[in-house]
Symmetry: C2
């Protein structure tokens, strides 16, 4: 492993012109983030970059130094715009070549005579990369050191995450408590700010919402320390009661 | 204007723990990207970063040098986690203070005696920033040089974009042509790659999909040059016909 960050953090690099062009709504951030929460790893940055080799190399090299785990999505299919494997090879200065196991998996998957050049491309990885198996459509992802390369198609990506659970050494599960209130942010910002000051190690988020024509604010307390969350919640409830604010959701 | 990039490109910085934590599905990338397409400006990078001052300053300073237009979303409300205005002030080394016009707008918006400290915070911007008016909920966004600061709430953000149309000096509208085929990527990757090589200035994307139990591939040609798109399309249709691939969508 590279001299990676000691914190249990992660970053995602979305390699995808289709997200930047506004053609496709990304949902992979949400999927990976919630999966990481369960493993006790905190997602701390996301980058969406185009399918351009030099951008991929530059971004991967920068990000892999600063985060413990890096996940890339997209660009591992058979077409000309699928350049992730080659770019990762270049980023790590490792030869880009057929991966014997990936080759066998794909050769077995396709009917005889149908394992064409485009399909063979999906068997190429940085030399000696470890494979991430694909229970949906055979073509595997792979990882090199702390960089995990996954496909962009959301359903396939989802099906592959379970296979690397045991590769991610995480921490205590990150939990969150949500309190949705019938109020507006500007009514509660002062007491809430004081509570955040008191609980410096907790993340307290405040998110206004509109639902069925009514406005409200969701407060979200987030940490891997349940006791601290409970203490903070007690303090929040004090001003909620004092201000006679209606509670909509408490979970 | 800073010595900004001459290309008509843009980047988005999403300031939002709620996106990184997996609590909220971002939709602002899609909104801003499609709006930029209409103005002939190409979105070339997105970063999602946490609500941490030093991260915001570092990211803004890096991104504003490399892109013609920069849009930030989130963090301009009244609560403790809304630190965008202050951070942008620090990034530009400009005083963070009450903006007289923003102050008047908010003072008029709230009932007498209800313009409290939390609400007043929303009138603070980098000194002499230009305002971006908010037809939904009064609290304005602002811009400094090439950095445009918008709210995170999608409906409010949408309502504010029209107000800065005339600030964005764009180019020819970016158009895209989509051809959805009943095939798989690995069947067409070779001829498609050859066409991409021939039309180096066009962006040809290939996106597999699953719909109603059937698989297919959408090819998306994207450019501000309609003639070039048409020429490329003719070439694609040649191999589609030759391979007897069924066309599902042609638009």
């Amino acid at each position: 492993m590279e001299k990676a960050n000691k914190k249990l953090n992660a970053a995602i690099i979305i390699i995808g012109n289709e997200i930047l062009s506004g053609r496709t709504q990304d949902t992979n951030i949400l999927t990976i983030s919630n999966w990481l929460n369960g493993l006790g790893v905190k997602l701390e940055e996301v980058r969406v970059i185009p399918d351009i080799e030099k951008n991929i190399i530059k971004t991967v090299n920068e990000i892999k130094r600063n985060f413990k785990y890096v996940f890339t999505t997209g660009g591992i299919g058979p077409t000309h715009d699928d350049i992730t494997s080659k770019s990762i090879s270049k980023a790590f200065k490792i030869k880009y070549c057929y991966h014997p196991e990936a080759y066998r998996i794909l050769e077995n998957y396709y009917e005889k005579g149908k394992f064409n050049l485009g399909r063979k491309k999906m068997a190429k990885t940085p030399k000696n990369a470890s494979l991430i198996y694909n229970p949906s459509s055979a073509a595997p992802g792979f990882f090199v050191k702390n960089v995990y390369c996954l496909p962009g198609v959301p359903s396939i990506l989802k099906s592959m995450l379970g296979g690397i659970n045991n590769k991610i050494i995480g921490g205590k599960k990150i939990i969150s408590k949500t309190l949705s209130l019938r109020t507006v942010e500007s009514e509660i910002s002062i007491p809430l700010g004081k509570i955040q000051n008191k609980f410096k190690n907790l993340e307290i988020g405040s998110y206004p919402f509109f639902k069925q024509g009514k406005i409200g604010v969701s407060l979200v307390i987030r940490s891997n320390k349940n006791k601290l969350i409970k203490k903070c919640f007690v303090d929040i409830m004090k001003f909620v009661k004092k201000k006679k604010i209606k509670i909509i959701v408490n979970k």
